[in-house]
């Protein structure tokens, strides 16, 4: 009996600590960042619970509602084939989030280590890594997308791969520049002077101080990634129908503008809200992660 309670205690304790940390961070956020947090929270849940939330099957055809504007039955209207825009929007959250967040996340995971190693070590390592990155950058995103999809086929995972590969050189460049300036800081020399190894200096002293531009860039990239996904899907290289994505919805509604505006405007609004929410939340978190900002707000109070 006692054993069990102790076990439960030790298991719950770290969780509670994590929650407290989270609550602390949340309390420090300003109003716009808090709202953004809840919007992002909502979007993520929409993606998870799409089948429960959507009133119709996103692929179901309701011919009687073809090109119908918003009505009670179809609150956001229907497209040419009478598919419910709201349901498609809700299901489209999945693909868009996957591309926007997962792909950008992977791009960061590829670009940041490469760029920071290049910036920190310099010399030939730097040349080799950055010139390879230049090669990737020199290929237009869509062409690279075509090549990759041509090689491994279309589909959501491949779109994610394309976006990750296309964006990773940009993170490499950003973090490299940032590392180059931070590594000249005296505290890096001081860390060297304590006898710390190169890897630890890079990870503990340089990266945390060089990361800010990456956060800013990635919130912006979430938006452009969703749009890149739209372009790829529009060309038939991205997510395959009938699976809906926001980008594809905008693309398919384009020819009905301005008459049947609801087909592309609502997904557009969805992208805008998502992007804004990520941006503002990113800004807020970044302020929060910077230890200097704490007293600035405290000083104002």
């Amino acid at each position: 009996m006692t054993d069990i309670t102790i076990d439960r205690g030790t298991m719950v304790e770290p969780l509670r600590e994590k929650y407290n940390q989270f609550a602390d961070t949340y309390r420090q956020l300003d109003a716009s960042a808090r709202i953004s947090f809840w919007i992002v929270f909502g979007i993520v849940n929409t993606a998870i619970f799409a089948p429960i939330l959507a009133p119709y099957d996103p692929a179901a055809l309701h011919y009687e509602a073809s090109l119908q504007g918003p009505t009670l039955a179809h609150p956001l209207g229907a497209d040419l084939m009478g598919r419910d825009i709201l349901s498609r929007l809700i299901f489209g959250t999945r693909a868009s989030l996957a591309v926007g967040v997962v792909a950008v996340g992977i791009a960061v995971l590829i670009g940041v280590p490469l760029g920071s190693i290049a910036g920190y070590l310099g010399g030939w390592t730097d040349e080799f890594i950055m010139r390879s990155m230049d090669v990737v950058i020199s290929i237009p995103a869509l062409v690279l997308g075509l090549a990759i999809v041509g090689a491994i086929g279309a589909g959501l995972v491949n779109v994610i791969a394309v976006v990750a590969i296309v964006y990773s050189p940009q993170y490499a460049r950003i973090i490299r520049g940032s590392v180059l300036s931070v590594k000249e800081e005296e505290y890096v020399e001081a860390a060297e002077n304590t006898g710390l190894g190169n890897a630890s200096i890079l990870v503990k002293h340089i990266l945390p101080n060089a990361f800010t531009p990456v956060i800013v860039q990635s919130t912006y990239h979430v938006a452009t990634a969703i749009i890149l996904e739209a372009s790829l899907s529009f060309l038939g290289l991205g997510v395959q129908p009938p699976r809906p994505t926001w980008g594809m919805m905008i693309a398919s509604g384009r020819q009905y503008l301005p008459g049947e505006w609801w087909i592309s405007v609502f997904p557009g609004i969805a992208i805008m809200i998502t992007v804004l929410a990520f941006n503002i939340l990113g800004d807020g978190l970044q302020d929060e992660f910077d230890p200097r900002s704490e007293t600035e707000t405290g000083g104002g109070a």
Binding site: E186, E189, E192, T194, G195, N209, T295
Partner: protein, 448 residues
């Protein structure tokens, strides 16, 4: 104090290279410029003493400090720490050397990681060197250290930005002491601080040094501070040590003209005291192309005229200055001509331009309010000839060199030991020595 120095720097050189890219190397019209930041420095530091290193900004003090700790790789020379050669350390040896020798940096606002709490800052070096048995133990040590340097243990979880400059420097000192070092290199540790705080930090350093038997290399451009805390002083000028002496001796009787200038620049807090305040002319020359001979000669107030020089030493100095200005291309005849033309609104002759150059560079010495000197006729002739050379595209410097060159310019002064722990690199001193020797030989000859 043992006789064997704890740290012995021998002929240390640190050169930086400009334009070092591959393409510039391949191009014959471009040359790689060498910046001789530290150029052959010898230093010895005895265990437990504080050696001061003074000199103007840009003379290589900080580079020297960093090279001694191998924070930058020295280009050449050796650094012996106890029995070992620091320049030949492997990574592992270097790491253990880092627990012996630590650095306190100049700017406490940039030498602390803004994202590290005080605790992390102080505990990290202990972790690296395996000091302390457990994290509780290290925590305890961090608390003791932070209290020892005059902060409160409550401060441990704060970030650097929450502290003042003086407090930050205390944290920086605590970090250096965390590994129980033998040697501390303090690179202008108080120059970024308010004057009121400077003394507190200096006192702290002094106390800690006595308590822990630390050896200290103290770098500063502030001579009053050096005077207070150093046992011996080395004066550095443009990458070289020009004088070494016990602190008291140096301040009472500086031998090198540069040291004299430095010492004379210390303010005396007594308005009734009058003394010659020697001001230095010009800026520190660039270490890319340091002056020939004695590096201080272009600015030296005591530059030595040749034996047959019959005039004022002041005039001699000014002629050397004119020569240097001509050599560096600072004298722009076209600019002077157009200036004169706009003043007189009529064409000016070569003679007028030459006169103006002489007036500017020699008679008024290019310094506002400087005493005017008279140019004796034979010297004026020489100068006029040299300046004519400028108009006929000849090298005026060469002409001047023929009759106006100094030993200071042509020969590098060697280090001469004056007494124990005391040496000067200056021709003036060489000569004094020579004269003394001659005198003593005369005396001994007389005795026989």
């Amino acid at each position: 104090m043992t006789d064997e120095p704890i740290l012995k720097v021998d002929d240390l050189q640190k050169h930086f290279y400009e334009n070092q890219g591959l393409l510039t190397r391949l191009r014959p019209d471009q040359e790689v410029k060498t910046v001789r930041a530290v150029d052959g420095v010898d230093l010895t530091i005895q265990e437990g003493e504080t050696l001061g290193l003074v000199g103007e900004s840009g003379c290589g003090k900080s580079t020297l400090a960093r090279s001694v700790l191998r924070l930058t790789e020295p280009t050449d020379g050796s650094i012996r720490y106890r029995e070992t050669d620091v320049t030949e350390f492997s990574d592992r040896e270097l790491r253990s050397f880092r627990s012996e020798a630590q650095m306190v940096f100049q700017d406490p606002f940039s030498s602390l990681n803004p994202r590290y709490t005080v605790r992390e800052t102080v505990v990290e070096p202990m972790k690296v060197h395996g000091i302390g048995e457990s994290s509780e133990d290290r925590d305890q040590r961090a608390r003791e250290l932070i209290e020892r340097v005059g902060l409160d243990s409550e401060h441990l979880d704060r970030y650097p930005h929450e502290f003042s400059g003086g407090q930050r420097q205390r944290i920086s000192i605590a970090r250096a002491l965390a590994v129980e070092p033998q040697v501390i290199v303090a690179d202008e540790p108080v120059s970024a601080l308010d004057v009121s705080v400077q003394m507190q930090i200096l006192n702290l350093l002094n106390e800690l040094q006595e308590e822990m038997g630390l050896t200290m290399l103290f770098i500063s451009h502030n001579l009053s501070i050096v005077r207070q805390i150093c046992d011996r002083v080395a004066v550095m000028y443009l990458g070289e040590i020009v004088e070494r002496a016990e602190t008291a001796t140096l301040f009472e009787d500086p031998k090198h003209p540069y040291s004299e200038v430095l010492v004379s620049s210390i303010p005396i807090p007594d308005p009734t005291v009058e003394r010659d305040n020697i001001t230095l002319e010009g800026d520190v020359p660039t270490p890319i192309d340091p002056p020939s001979g004695c590096r201080f000669h272009p600015r030296c107030p005591k530059v030595i005229p040749p034996d047959d020089w019959a005039h004022d030493q002041e005039l001699w100095r000014r002629i050397l200055r004119l020569k240097a200005s001509l050599e560096s291309g600072e004298v722009n005849l076209d600019a002077i001509r157009s200036k004169l033309e706009s003043q007189t609104e009529s064409p000016v002759s070569e003679e007028d331009v030459k006169e103006d150059v002489l007036e500017e560079y020699v008679i008024r010495a290019n310094v506002e309010g400087a005493d005017r000197v008279q140019i004796p006729p034979e010297v004026a002739d020489d100068l006029a000839r040299a300046l004519s050379a400028v108009f006929s595209d000849d090298d005026p410097v060469e002409i001047l060199d023929r009759s106006y060159s100094s030993i200071c310019e042509s020969t590098v002064p060697s280090e001469s030991d004056v007494s124990d722990h005391r040496s000067v690199n200056c021709h003036l001193h060489d000569e004094e020595l020579k004269r003394d020797q001659q005198l003593s030989t005369v005396v001994t000859a007389d005795e026989h």
